[in-house]
Each structure stands twice: as C-alpha cells, then as structure tokens.
Symmetry: C2
Subunit: 240 residues, 2 copies
C-alpha cells in the first residue's frame, strides 16, 4: 500500500522516493491447508494494510518490490509477479496516513506528499510459509499471517488488491509452474493437490491430478517415504 515509509523514511520529507507511486505486496503463504497473506497492523488498532513501500529515485521498480517483500519476510529469493496497477483517483484516503504521521511526530501540512494521491503497483509473492519470519516495520508494529477466509477490514482498496492478486494467481497456475513456490522443499502428491484445490477453490480428482503433475516432468521422487497413518505411505517429492 502507500503509507509505509521504511528505513530512511520520513527523513527529508521523503525526498529519496518517487512521489505519487507505491508498491503493494500480496504475500501468499500456505499453512494448515489454507492460503494466507501477510498483513500489517497499526498499534493494536483496527488499521490493517498490505505490506508496501515506495520506490527510491534510482531504483528499479522490480527491485523495490523485492526489497519490500524481503524486508517483511526475511527471504532472499522470492517469486514475485507484477499483476496490476491500481490508479483510481479516489483510491487514496489520506486519513489513516495522517493519523500515523501525527503519532510519529510528523506534523503534516495538507500538501505533504504522503497525503497526496498514490498510484500503486500490485505484486504478489509466493513464499514457503515455513521459511518466513514476519517482520513489522517502523510504522506498523504488527505483521502476521491471515487466512484468506478471515481477513480483517483493510485500508483503502487493499481488499480489492488481494482479490485481484488471487485471480491472477489462479490464471497463472496452469501456465506457469508457480505453485511449488508455496510448498516446503519436500511434499507429498496429496499436499500439492490440496494446495491446488485451495487456490482454485474446487475439488480435483486424484488420478487425473497425479497424472497431470507427473507428466510435467518437473518433480523428482525421493526414495524415502512418509510415516503416519494406518495406510500405505506416500512418496515424497521435490521440485527440480
């Protein structure tokens, strides 16, 4: 979203950043058979927002997106996809930002750049939930996973942004081989099927799914097997 100067943020009134442009990141993880996204919370208030940030004056847009996601997750290699630009003139509501600035000792004139209109570039990230350490920034003190089913009310058009990100993810699922970024290193065919079913929100038939995935030739079957229930042990797979 807009409204989260990180690092050398409020300094020099933001002269380091491009004005009027922001990045919003929809960071997807998969845990407990649920798709989740990382959300920021402002001091136990009901102000929730997507992780976001600004673009340094000499920084590539993609690099800025990587930086934003990296700072919130602690990850280095991140699967990122730019999916849409949100540019309605009325989408930026300055009031939460004003609250935040005041609380941080910045007395904003009404023409402060952070209170102006922002156009925001949406990126979604697919990460291995088990590898992430959610990290708040200096404005938002909460940074936590929320299942898509129980997302709290969000700032501005951030709910819309999540919706559009999910739609893009769905559309890409079959073309690009994207889902594996949401899995841990080793997983069973059933784990993967549940992930697909969760993203697509529909049941898939087991034999067809297995045949399709294996025919892609991108999985490596690990000799070792799983242990657990009262039944045949499934193979583990790894993405190659």
């Amino acid at each position: 979203m807009e409204g989260r100067p990180t690092q050398n943020e409020s300094d020099a009134a933001g002269s380091n950043y491009m004005h009027g442009l922001a990045i919003d990141a929809v960071i997807f993880g998969f845990h407990d058979n649920q798709l989740k996204v990382l959300l920021m919370q402002y001091k136990k208030s009901d102000i929730f927002a997507l992780p976001g940030g600004f673009i340094h004056k000499e920084e590539n847009l993609d690099d800025a997106a990587h930086r934003v996601v990296s700072e919130r997750t602690g990850l280095k290699d991140i699967y990122l996809e730019q999916f849409y630009v949100f540019g309605d003139a009325t989408r930026s509501d300055p009031s939460p930002m004003r609250t935040i600035m005041l609380a941080n000792g910045i007395a904003p004139g009404n023409h402060h750049w952070l209170l102006q209109r922002f156009i925001s570039v949406g990126y979604y990230a697919l990460v291995d939930f088990t590898k992430v350490t959610p990290m708040p920034d200096r404005i938002f003190d909460g940074c936590n996973w929320y299942a898509l089913a129980d997302i709290p009310p969000l700032m501005q058009d951030h709910a819309q942004i999540i919706k559009k990100a999910l739609a893009s993810l769905r559309a890409n699922l079959d073309n690009k081989l994207v889902a594996f970024n949401l899995m841990p290193e080793e997983f069973t065919m059933n784990d993967l099927q549940i992930l697909y079913e969760t993203i697509l929100d529909k049941k898939l038939l087991r034999p067809a799914f297995q045949r399709k995935i294996l025919s892609l030739g991108i999985l490596e079957r690990i000799a070792k097997k799983w242990t657990g229930g009262a039944h045949k042990a499934p193979y583990l797979y790894r993405f190659k």
Copy 2:
C-alpha cells in the same frame, strides 16, 4: 511513452500532471492481413514513439489511457487492456525529450520534470482499423500505422513494450474473446481465421477453427452472403 504533453501540456511546467508517471499505448489494428500499430513521428526525423501521455492530477489511470487512445484515433468506445508497468530506473533517456522541448521553445533546466525518470503503464488497445483517423498531437506531427514486421527504431524501450503487448494479446486470445475488436462489423470466417493466424503467427486448420469459434456461441450468422470470386460465397458473421 513519456514525453508527449498533449492539450494543455507544456503550460505551467506541467503542474496539471502527475510527475514521474506516464502511459504508453500500443494501439493494434488489422489491415491487409497484417497486424499494425500506431506510431508517432517527430517532424520527419527518425524519432518514432508509441502514442502516450500523462495522468491529470485528479484523473483515473484508466480514464487517462482512454483519453490518450481516443485523442490519437478519434474513437469513443475502445477495448483497452492494461498489460504491464515498465519501471527500470534507466529506461528513460532524456535526450529526445530535450530536443523536442528546445524545438518547442521550452528551455528546460536539467531538473525539468519531463527530463526526469518515468515509470510507464502499458495499455494495449484493439481497434477497428477502418474506423480510425490517425491524429498527431502538438509535439509529434506524424501519426501512422506500421505493420509489426516493419517497425522503425523506436525511442527508449518502446520496442520492448510492443513485444510485451503482443505477448499479452496472444495470451488473452483464447481466454477473453478479444479478437473481434480488431474486425469490422461484418466479416467472414476466413477473415477471422487469418486474424488469428496473424496474431498467433501460425497456421490453423480450417475445420477445427470453424468448429471452435462457432462453439463459443458468440457469432451471429447474417443471412446475406458475400460476392467476389469463382467459388461458393461465404457467410458473413457479426459479433453479438
């Protein structure tokens, strides 16, 4: 692209526009069995560019894109798709813009906003070639169709932008029912097949193509028939 103030452009040093943000439009048309795009030319020079423009301070991004395409084509209802944002830090080369500004009697300081870095939102438009009247703006005096096969060298990363637009169009061709925007009101099945073949750059088999298109149920067969060659007359179709 960036670098084409239209209308009340250079006035007030561009205070009407958002700075650092531009729109580039790849306007596709279909004529003589070729895909073509509209390009702007600067006073018989070799400076060619995509049609583009800026976003008014209170204007929706999509509205700005419609305005830009409308001004160059004279069309009202335009099929537009936002397909990518180009945000590399080094993509903006200020020198052609400086040339243009000087020639227009604007003496740009080196920090003039038009010479700074721009991030550009790419839109592609699909239009009925026969309905378009290409219209230059006040900076570029040429506005003409160029077949994709013989595009002249373009400013900055505009060649890249066209390439990406075409890739997006191809990807959308089967999902969205997009191709009909490039056809005149009435057309034969063969016309449509040639369009598909041109966009996808591969031959299609006639019976399969006809079956697929008709099964979509979006075409209306017009009773009238075509006249011309020494063979059976094809039906005309209309998009419903």
